[in-house]
Symmetry: D2
Subunit: 99 residues, 4 copies
Amino acid sequence: MSAEPGYVTGGDQAALLRRLKRIEGQVRGVHRMVEEDTYCIDVLTQVSAIKRGLEKVSVLLVEDHLRGCVLDAAKSGDDAEADAHLTEVTTALGRLLRS
Amino acid sequence: MSAEPGYVTGGDQAALLRRLKRIEGQVRGVHRMVEEDTYCIDVLTQVSAIKRGLEKVSVLLVEDHLRGCVLDAAKSGDDAEADAHLTEVTTALGRLLRS
Amino acid sequence: MSAEPGYVTGGDQAALLRRLKRIEGQVRGVHRMVEEDTYCIDVLTQVSAIKRGLEKVSVLLVEDHLRGCVLDAAKSGDDAEADAHLTEVTTALGRLLRS
Amino acid sequence: MSAEPGYVTGGDQAALLRRLKRIEGQVRGVHRMVEEDTYCIDVLTQVSAIKRGLEKVSVLLVEDHLRGCVLDAAKSGDDAEADAHLTEVTTALGRLLRS
């Protein structure tokens, strides 16, 4: 089974899925905190932790895209394709930094 | 049932819980996207949307804290208490901006 | 000379101005790094430091606004005014978190 | 004159330097606003604009690094070098997203 470019595969995929499961649990935890009238500041601290988790997920996705798409195209000599993938990822990065 | 300072109550609470449910669903959606080998850039776009949702939740929590804690203390003439709550919220804000 | 609400005054103002001077120097430093062909990653590290400096400035401005406008209005019993200032600051916060 | 990997060159460099000059002017503008007791919320709006400018600079630096280092190494068949540059840029990205 070979890794297809642009898709998260193998060990990276398992790690990403575990991180997303944890984030889902954290969001459910914040829901419960708000239901149970937890002190706002404590809820905010937990929201900050979820944001950091999502940022880690983003970096993993970007790294995966760079390895799986940009590098593969460059290695196979397809400069136009490598260039197109690189433009795509920098556009996504701009959106991410602003969100 | 009166609103206690520092806790999310009433209409705000219902709106927050709805937002958190939506975010939980979005995180599950990203998990499915990664499992189903969705193109990385599309996953990244969805992660950016979740981050924006969390930021909206943060702003609602800060606003709630300011209304429920800081203002109430100030109105009741308890300056030291208002001051303590305000310091607490700016500390949380610093953490949030950095996350 | 009394502090007018919504304006940065006294010790806070001096501290803010010092921080802004330092940030200006850092931006000039990055300009020089780019001119002198410094390695991209080192430039990026410096840009991250400037962003953190600006976030600290933002938090100080928000805190100042909350102390100078929102609290003062609340203490003087002007609930509508306190409320208007608070809405204004949460709107600015939303913009800041997204930028 | 050929572009050396990892350094900002040619048209990109001129564009970056122009952006940095503009950011430096904006920081000076905020300094003046604070000195002249401009309303906090207006200062905050201007700080948000500077942060967005810095994010654009960051994205340009990352794109430049990817084109000049990672792609060049991949094209020349130096996989270990391409890999090392890619790890470096994802580390810088993590720091940037958190700042």
